[in-house]
Every structure is written in C-alpha cells, then in structure tokens.
C-alpha cells in the first residue's frame, strides 16, 4: 500500500517538475527543453510508458491519462514556439490553458491511484522503479528551482508593472486625444486628460460613441469605427473635418485621426485605440494662406500689366494670365524658353546686364525694351522688378511687372518730332520773313533813291 502511494506521489511530483520547467522556459531561463517538448522524455512520460501502462493497463483511466498527458505536451510545444517567435505575453497567457489540462491530468492520476488501491493491484517492483526515477534531493532542488523562478517572475512582473504604469502615465498625458473603445458598440472605456478636457470633462465613460456624440451621425465616423473593428485594419486620416458639439454648440474641427484595432491573444477584435490631433488652427491658417494666394492671383490677373515672379536667383516661378494672352506662349514654354528670349535683340543685352546686376545687388530693376507679341509685333514695354525679402531681410525672390508703353512711347516720339519740326518751321519762317524784310528794305531804298 505504501508503495502504491509513493508510486503516484512520485508521478505527481514529476508532473510538478514539468510545469516548473515549462514556466522556466517561458520566463527566459536556460534549461534542458527536451522533457518539456517530448511527452516520452519527461518524468511522467517515462512513468506512463515504462511502468504505468504495464502495471495499470487494465484501468481505463490510465489510457485517458496517457492521452491528456500527450495533449499537455502539445500545448507546451505551442507555447514554447510562440515564446521563441517573440509572442512572449501570448505564450505566458497560454500557461493557464496548460494549467487546466494539467489539473485534469492530476485528477486522472488520483482516479487511477484510488482504483489501484481498491483493487490492491500493485507491483513489487514499483517502489524500486520510482525510487530510481526521483529522489528527495531532486524534490528539494525542484522546490528551490521553483522559488528562484518565482523570484524571477516577481521581478519581471515588477518591471512590467512599472513599465505599464509609465506607459499609462504617458498615455494619459499625451498631447493628443487618446481613448480606448471597447466592443463592437465602441463603448468608451478610457480617455486621457486632453480628451477629457476636450469634452469639458463630460461624463461619457461607459457610453457608446453613438450615445456620447450623436451629432457625428451622418459624418461617416461611426461607419469608420465599425470597419476598423470588423476588418481589424487600422485607419489613418489627415485633416478630417468633423462637426462636433463640445458644449458650446456645433463647431467645425479638423483632426488627424488614427484608429487602431485592439485584439485579444487569439486575434479576435476587442476594441479600438483612437488617437487624434486637433489640426484646426493649422488647417484654417493654411486655408487663409491659400485664400490670400488666390486673392493675389486674382488681383494680378486683373491688372493690365504682365506680372511675374522669380526665385532669389531670378528663375521664373509665376506668370499672370496677361503673359499667355499677350505673348501667345504657355506657362510651360515661358518657363522652358525663358521670357527674356522675347525681348528685342536691340535691347536684350542692356536688359540682361541690368537684370544680372539687380540680382547681385538687390537693387530695383527698370528697363524699357521691346517685347515680341503673339502676332510677332514688337511692342515697347517697361519692365520693373523689386526684391521680395523675408523677416531676416534676405531676398527670397523678385516680383516684376512688364507694362505696355508702346502707345506712350509713340506719343513721346511724336512729341519729340513735333518739337523738332516746330524748331525747323520757326527757322524756315524766320528765313522767309528775313527775306521779305530784306526785299521790302530794298524796295524802300530804291523808291527813296528814285524820289531824290
């Protein structure tokens, strides 16, 4: 009878050794893995296949016990494989599954033990076999190993807890709106401080997003959350407009949004981690800049002059509509060929020399020149440019206008001609008057001579 007790107690002790080894592997201790991976090489396996099946094969439960034992090792193999592929937490979580099978194994061991006791079925060699397999010293070593492992696990758990606390702390104070939504109804489980402040600390924990933010209906956000939850794929959206009531009436906000699906160790959807950043100010500022740019473009297109801009080095960037209408060239052609090629060759050198000097010195630029128009006519233009400077007084580009002065130039020429003509006319008239005067004097002199 004592031998039978010892037989089964030893088997249970061997099982304890298995569990301890499995835990050791999953917590990073370097030990012989073979007794854990193979159900033939562990203590209980050796006991089953070398002893128990022979001695207690007539008891039905011993065969079930053999099967459960094999299952237990199969689970152990999976967990070790998971651990080795980096799924540490998942592997450790699986220990509970191994525990459940192990409990079943122990229960079966007890059943077989009782049946053996009742039937007084024993074997005189059992005690010898068991004593060969495990000694008291081994049991002491096992207890010590377990104590060491418990310390290691506790230490690791402490580190892990600290890390989790740190992570939670960071999470709660991230400069973004962070929340965790649970379940397919997206129930709000957790919100960080900025998220709480955003909703004016309204108590919405435990509510679904549909209950907490009914105004989002029809804006597509509920559907997005459903999709992320059902399909398990994250979603990222930039500058997404949302009309929301945060306690001050409906307002339009723009956010960069990320929804990450949360899954359990088996990959099943559990919830969603929501990150969002308020980018309303940036979007509105950019919209203002874009509107200002549009306004500037509208104004330049409304101007009668041809307007152009360049970078600091004088490379063309922008031409207003008048350029295309007056020269018949497209933006691409003007960029590729350079509009300077349209300047009349007689003024080209003067123009380019002055322009180069302005680029070098930053001085105001103004040159009169003829420009080839869409009908190949050369018309006089006045091109002026001023440097555009940044806050550091550095030239960042040039803004120029090219104004048609052809008619003015013509009038100036005519005026000049008129002055020249007037001068010659006066001279001509004076000559004629002098001649007439001389003729009159001659006549008078002749008359006086005749009279005398």
């Amino acid at each position: 009878m004592d031998n039978i007790l010892l037989d089964f107690e030893q088997a249970k002790a061997k099982h304890l050794l298995f569990k301890s080894r499995l835990r050791s592997i999953l917590y990073g201790m370097e030990i012989n893995e073979l007794p854990v991976l193979s159900h033939f090489e562990c203590g209980v396996g050796k006991w089953i296949y070398n002893h128990a099946l022979t001695e207690y094969g007539h008891i039905a439960e011993i065969h079930e016990l053999e099967k459960v034992h094999a299952d237990l090792h199969a689970v152990a193999r999976d967990l070790v494989a998971m651990y080795k592929t980096g799924k540490v937490e998942e592997a450790r979580s699986g220990l509970s599954k191994a525990e459940a099978i192990a409990d079943k194994l122990v229960a079966l061991l007890s059943v077989v033990e009782k049946k053996v006791e009742r039937n007084d079925v024993t074997n005189s060699h059992a005690g010898d076999y068991q004593s060969r397999e495990i000694s008291m010293q081994e049991l002491i070593d096992l207890v010590k190993a377990n104590e060491a492992l418990d310390k290691l696990i506790k230490k690791q758990n402490d580190v892990f807890s600290k890390q989790r606390l740190l992570l939670l702390e960071s999470f709660m104070h991230l400069p973004a709106y962070v929340s965790i939504l649970q379940g397919k109804e997206h129930r709000i489980e957790l919100m960080n401080e900025p998220a709480k402040q955003l909703v004016n600390n309204k108590d919405i924990i435990g509510k679904t997003v549909r209950e907490a933010f009914p105004e989002l209906e029809g804006q597509g956000y509920f559907e997005l959350l459903d999709k992320v939850y059902n399909e398990g794929e994250p979603f990222t959206g930039k500058e997404m407009p949302v009309k929301v009531d945060l306690g001050n009436g409906m307002q339009l906000m723009y956010s960069n949004i990320s929804y990450y699906p949360l899954k359990d160790i088996h990959g099943n959807a559990e919830g969603i981690l929501s990150f969002s950043y308020d980018v309303t100010e940036q979007v509105l500022a950019r919209q203002r800049i874009e509107e200002a740019a549009k306004r500037a473009e509208f104004i330049t297109n409304a101007m009668p002059q041809m307007v152009w801009t360049t970078d600091a080095a004088g490379k063309s960037i922008f031409f207003n509509e008048n350029w295309f209408q007056n020269t018949g060239k497209t933006f691409e052609v003007l960029l590729a060929e350079g509009w300077f090629s349209l300047i009349h060759t007689a003024e080209a050198e003067t123009f380019l020399t002055a322009w180069k000097k302005s680029i070098e010195t930053g001085n105001y630029f103004a040159v009169e020149h003829r420009l080839k128009m869409h009908n190949n006519e050369h018309r006089w233009h006045l091109t002026r440019a001023i440097p555009e400077k940044n806050y550091n007084d550095e030239i960042v580009g040039w803004i120029g206008t090219t104004t048609d002065i052809h008619d003015l130039k013509f009038l100036q020429d005519q005026l000049k001609q008129s002055y020249e003509d007037l001068e010659v006319k006066v001279k001509f008239r004076n000559l004629e008057l002098e001649k007439q005067n001389k003729d009159l004097l001659n006549q008078l002199t002749s008359s006086q001579l005749n009279n005398s």
């Binding site: 001609q417 003509d421 010659v424 006319k425 001279k427 001509f428 008239r429 000559l431 004629e432």
Partner: protein, 124 residues
C-alpha cells in the same frame, strides 16, 4: 511707318499723285494757292494741282545744310514762285496693297499739308 532720311529724299520719292489728307491753315496761309488743293501730281520738273480746277507749273528741290537741313521745294506758276515749302517728314510703310508714303510739307506762310501716296504692289 518708317522715317526716310531727309538727306536721302530725291525726285523719285516725290514722283506720283499725292492726296491731301490733312491741312493746317492760318490767316496768311489761306491766301496760298495750295491752301485748298485736293490733289497734287508731281512728275519730273512739272506738277499739277487740283482743287476743282487744275493748275500746272514747275517745281524744284533745293538742298543745303548750312542754314536749314530740310529739303526745300519751290513751286512756280507762269515763271512766278507761288509756293516755298520744306519737307518736315517723309514716312513710308509697306502693306499688301503696296507702299504707302506720308509727306508733310510746311509752307513759308504757315500752311501745312499732309499728303498721302499709294504705290501699287510689285507683281511678278
């Protein structure tokens, strides 16, 4: 239109029928025999002015550059000088209809005539 250098103007430039396009008159100028002409035909040393009735006479061009640079035209009728003018401008331009000339004559009594002449295009 292109200005023709005054110094290069010769009888060939003036040859042809000129139509009066514009005229500037003053009190003295109204007395000028050319004040009311509509056309003037110039050919060689002869001219014919038309203002309803025709007047035929002679003309000559004087060029000197010491006193006045512009070519001077003197018009005679029955051996009497009836007009003394300078050429202030002679402009030319080409178009599909040939060559167009614009001649500005300023007479010593203040009359100014602006004359146009059209030459036929050169055909092959």
């Amino acid at each position: 239109m292109t200005n023709i250098d005054l110094n290069s103007i010769d009888a060939e430039h003036l040859k042809g029928t000129w139509e009066v396009k514009n005229r500037h008159l003053n009190n003295n100028a109204a007395q000028n025999v050319f004040a009311d002409i509509r056309l003037i035909e110039i050919d060689g040393t002869k001219y014919k002015s038309v203002n309803g009735k025709e007047r035929r006479g002679e003309w000559l061009m004087i060029k000197e550059q010491e006193i006045i640079y512009n070519p001077q035209l003197k018009f005679f009728l029955d051996n009497q000088q009836v007009g003394n003018a300078i050429i202030t401008r002679l402009l030319s331009d080409k178009d599909d209809n040939g060559e167009v000339y614009k001649l500005t004559l300023y007479f010593s009594n203040g009359l100014e005539l602006i004359l146009h002449k059209q030459t036929a295009p050169i055909t092959a």
